[in-house]
């Protein structure tokens, strides 16, 4: 019986004092100062018009609280997420927002209790319509970011107060390392028998013809298609499939920690991006993982994921177990 009473009391308290935070905006502070001044003036002079004005100012504060509460009540949020989040770079993040009844105005969304900086907003949210809110967020460093909830804030209706509510929503965001400028060259391409692209026999211009293009300065004159060049009146070279593709296996050396590890991850990410963009195949060696060489954006994502988890292996195991 006692327990039930306690539960009811707790429920009543929650109903009376919902978990909201209220912050006074800059204009709101001035508004409150003016209200205080009008109140003092009214009490001091007994001027009824000042009492009337004071009543209006105080009522607007109450109405502001009620309208903002109606605005952020009954909101549900679903994380749509992002395609790729890179550390220290703004990335597009999305939430799908809806509400069952009533209208909401001037809502801003951000991730609660996370290092992600930035937020998105929606001016008007009608009932029973799912609205996708886009935000440019920035993560300060790479690695997994545990998301616990979405913070919804509104300054509706007068912009005097910012009322905030946190909607609990668990999630994980993997932040890839920043693709900084790589100071070092990737080194010599892998020439071992690791796949066709690494086969030196395929670098002799014997691949299938994929097209012709004008010979650039400093390019190998042996690739000139003389017949076509003669008919076109300019030097054209033959482009062959895979003939220029090399294979690199990048490595994050074991034993790196802290800033050195971060720097190396960024460098490897930058190199991998550059090489893959040039059409090469790239693999990755880390202490715990070895990624086979591959090309294309999917391979880049694999490399970035592997780099992002470096140093957070314990958390990764937990996640995989949970999955």
């Amino acid at each position: 019986m006692k327990l039930r009473l306690k539960q009811r009391w707790a429920r009543l308290r929650v109903w009376l004092r919902p978990p909201r935070t209220l912050k006074v905006t800059r204009i709101g502070r001035t508004y409150l100062v003016v209200t205080f001044g009008v109140g003092l003036g009214a009490l001091n002079t007994g001027n009824n018009l000042l009492y009337l004005l004071l009543g209006l100012l105080l009522s607007m504060v109450v109405v502001s609280g009620v309208l903002s509460e109606r605005c952020i009540r009954d909101i549900s949020v679903r994380r749509v997420g992002t395609d790729a989040a890179f550390a220290a770079e703004p990335f597009a993040f999305r939430w799908a927002v809806s509400r069952k009844q009533g209208h909401a105005f001037a809502l801003t969304f951000s991730e609660a209790d996370s290092p992600l900086v930035g937020g998105g907003g929606v001016g008007y949210l009608p009932a029973n319509v799912e609205h996708v809110v886009r935000a440019d967020l920035t993560a300060p460093r790479r690695g997994p970011v545990r998301l616990t909830g979405v913070r919804v804030t509104t300054t509706w209706p007068l912009g005097l107060f910012a009322k905030t509510r946190v909607l609990p929503l668990e999630g994980l965001l993997l932040v890839y390392p920043r693709r900084a400028y790589a100071c070092q060259e990737p080194g010599d391409a892998e020439r071992g028998p690791a796949g066709d692209a690494g086969n030196p026999r395929r670098n002799d211009g014997s691949g299938d013809v994929t097209g012709l293009r004008e010979l650039a300065e400093g390019e190998d004159a042996r690739r000139i298609h003389w017949l076509k060049s003669a008919s076109a009146g300019k030097l054209l070279r033959v482009e062959r499939e895979r003939e220029e593709r090399r294979t690199w296996v990048l490595a994050v050396e074991p034993g790196l920690e802290g800033a050195a590890l971060e720097r190396r991850c960024e460098e490897v990410a930058a190199l991998a991006h550059r090489l893959l963009e040039e059409g090469h195949e790239v693999g990755l060696n880390t202490t715990d993982q070895r990624l086979r060489s591959g090309a294309g954006s999917a391979q880049e994502k694999r490399i970035l994921r592997a780099l992002a988890w470096l140093g957070f292996e314990g958390l990764r195991e937990e996640e995989e177990e949970a999955a």
Binding site: G46, N48, Y51, L52, M60, V63, V66, F105, L107, P157
Partner: protein
């Protein structure tokens, strides 16, 4: 700029204009500030933000304006409050002309708020209330649109219509809340400064001078502005009072203008008794408004006592003494924007003055004629009276003749050498001063004492009182009748005695006055006493309810109480039904609750979410002394809960008793062990 943004800015600018107007209606702001603000507002409404590129440089202009206002204040030309209000208006004007951004918008709204507060300090007009509401609504909508606009991604339209609906509801509730606060918030002070008065817009129109010059234009008769409010006791209860309100009298006419014999009679009196009164005096609480523009007191004919006078200024009210002058004129000693006082008057029929008790110079003046009086005046009077010598009858005979033979007109044909002869014999048309002068002098030519009286005629019912307009200014004749004193005889045609202004305008002003009166009674003069009345009205029937016809239905309060009681009963019934309708816990569940409670003294370490079955299994594994006692209890619980074998009558008590004994024995044993282990621990 999108459509929504433009609308928001227009609303912001108009709201600022309303806030400024709430100060301007007091009529106290310097004209140049009005001009500057009007220019800024018009430019802003046309989208011309002239200070957009040089906000800081143009802010220096404000410093210059502040310096000018400061000089005005120090020289005494301007009140400090008025100067502060004017400066707030000019700050707002500067912000209106600056580039619109969130900070500027906020400054415009806040300066508007300051202006509205300043307006409350300067004015108590009904128009102020209208501007206050207009400012609140427009400013709220503009601020809300600004908040939504900031959250709407660039390029998307602002949902103006969607915003207006919830905001309209919110503002309505805010206004209702403001009224509730206003009514219920206790007035902790007694308003020692008293009511304030603002000169209002437009110059004062009425007034009394020391002379009345014939031939002046009668334009005042067209003026519908209200100059006097009065409440009478006993209340005549008629819509049109049709009474004479006297200000002063004149007894010497030099052929062109009327003057008085004598000067100041009493210098400084808090209460003036002009003539003795009886028990049937008419009490008047009179308020002379800023449009009146003179210091002469007005009272119903014939005034007996005047006093309790207060002069209202822009800073408050103060008591003022009265001065009595010749011609029965009473004046306020101190100047004010408006005045309030009380007066007692004799009922109509005569002033009761005795000729012998009049000052000697006044006695002589009552028969004085101008030296160059046209002889035809006396001849005509004699012809019309035809031997009538009784003063009142003679006066009425002459008045009837004048009304019949002469027309009423407000048009004048310039200054005449002998305006009376011109009126009587040439033009045969004039206004009230011509009629009154003609009657007075014609009576005097026949040896009947008379004088000219000026004041107002009329009295239009507004709510519980009467008002007089500037157009009600009038002149008439006092005829001295033996035993009755001065009796009023009016030669002006009755239709032309009250105001001659436009009917529509008068009706509109009357409507405004009725609203203003309610505003004044309910808002401006609302006090702690009114709050007590409100509270009393809630718990007791209003005064006079017993006089009205009793209804067989219960009073509204009874309906209200019944409604509240009904709601309470309904809520209680809902609660009881909900409690009664909830599923009863299973008997086995109650049993296990009791077992758990019984195990508490044993201080068993329980894992999170560990059920009784788990606990029993763990205790058995650990060979705990209580395992033997707990095992049958647990088994029986599981059978009762899930095995379809409910507990028999008294079985639960039996099992619990056995468990309780085991627990008690275990607790006792543990305590003994603890006591036994304590000295060893100390020794080690």
């Amino acid at each position: 700029m999108t459509r929504g943004t433009r609308l928001r800015l227009v609303l912001r600018d108009v709201a600022s204009g309303c806030a400024f107007a709430s100060m301007a209606v007091s009529g106290q702001l310097p004209l140049w500030t009005l001009g500057l603000f009007a220019f800024a507002l018009v430019a802003a409404l046309f989208g011309k933000r002239l200070f957009a590129r040089r906000a800081k440089l143009t802010a220096l202009l404000l410093l210059g304006v502040a310096a000018v206002l400061a000089v005005n204040v120090t020289s005494g030309a301007l009140n400090l409050v008025v100067a502060a209000c004017a400066f707030a208006g000019l700050i707002s004007a500067h912000r209106l002309l600056s580039a619109p951004d969130p900070a500027t918008d906020g400054q415009v709204h806040l300066s508007g708020l300051l202006m509205v507060a300043g307006g409350a300090a300067l004015s108590g007009e009904l128009v102020y209330g209208l501007f206050l509401v207009a400012f609140s609504v427009l400013s709220s909508v503009s601020m809300a649109l600004g908040v939504v606009e900031a959250a709407v991604p660039e390029g998307e339209p602002i949902p103006v219509r969607a915003v207006l609906r919830p905001l309209g509801t919110g503002v309505t509730f805010a206004v209702a809340g403001a009224m509730a606060f206003f009514i219920l918030f206790p007035r902790l002070n007694w308003n020692m400064t008293g009511p304030r008065a603002a000169p209002g817009l437009g110059p004062a129109t009425a007034g009394f001078s020391n002379t009345v010059r014939l031939g002046g234009a009668g334009t005042i008769k067209d003026n519908p502005r209200i100059v006097l409010r009065a409440t009478l006791s006993p209340d005549p209860g008629v819509d049109a009072l049709g009474s004479y309100w006297v200000g002063r009298t004149y007894d010497i006419f030099d052929g062109m203008e009327w003057t008085n014999a004598g000067g100041v009679r009493r210098e400084r009196e808090p209460l003036l008794t002009l003539r003795p009164g009886g028990d049937n005096l008419i009490h008047q609480r009179v308020e002379l408004l800023p449009a009146y523009g003179a210091r002469t007191l007005i009272a119903l004919e014939t005034p007996s006592r005047l006093g309790n006078a207060v002069a209202n200024g822009s800073t408050g009210s103060r008591r003022t003494s009265l001065q009595e002058l010749a011609g029965g004129e009473a004046r306020f000693l101190e100047a004010g924007v408006s005045y309030a006082y009380e007066a007692y008057s004799l009922p109509p029929g005569g002033s009761g003055d005795s000729f012998r008790k009049l000052p000697s110079e006044e006695q002589d003046a009552l028969l004085a004629l101008p030296e160059a009086l046209d002889p035809r005046v006396a001849q005509t009077a004699a012809r019309v009276l035809n031997g009538e010598r009784e003063p009142l009858a003679a006066a009425q005979k002459l008045a009837t003749w004048l009304q019949r033979e002469h027309a009423y007109t407000l048009e004048q044909n310039g200054e005449r050498e002998d305006p009376l002869a011109d009126f009587l014999f040439d033009r045969k048309a004039g206004h009230c001063e011509h009629f009154a002068t003609a009657l007075t002098l014609m009576l005097r030519t026949q040896g009947i004492r008379a004088r000219l009286a000026t004041g107002f005629f009329g009295g239009e019912r507004v709510n519980d009182g009467y008002v007089l307009r500037a157009g009600d200014a009038h002149a008439w004749t006092h005829v001295l009748v033996p035993e009755r004193g001065f009796v009023t005889v009016d030669a002006t045609p009755p239709a032309h005695r009250p105001s001659q202004g436009s009917r529509l305008l008068q009706r509109l002003l009357g409507l405004y006055e009725a609203l203003e009166s309610r505003w004044r009674n309910s808002v401006v003069d609302y006090s702690f006493r009114d709050q007590v009345d409100v509270a009393r009205a809630l718990v007791r029937p209003p005064k006079g309810a017993e006089n009205t016809a009793r209804s067989r239905l219960p009073p509204a309060r009874a309906w209200g109480a019944a409604l509240v009681a009904g709601m309470v009963v309904y809520a209680a019934w809902r609660l009881v039904t909900r409690l009664a309708g909830r599923p009863r816990p299973h008997a086995a569940t109650r049993f296990v609750d009791a077992v758990e409670a019984m195990l508490v003294p044993a201080r068993l370490v329980r894992g999170e979410g560990e059920t009784l079955e788990d606990l029993d299994a763990r205790l058995a594994r650990e060979r705990h002394p209580l395992a033997l006692a707990l095992a049958p209890v647990t088994r029986r619980y599981l059978e009762a809960r899930f095995g379809g074998r409910p507990l028999r009558q008294g079985e639960a008590d039996q099992l619990l008793r056995a468990l309780q004994q085991s627990v008690a024995a275990h607790v006792k044993l543990e305590a003994q062990r603890a006591r036994a282990s304590e000295p060893r621990a100390r020794a080690s």
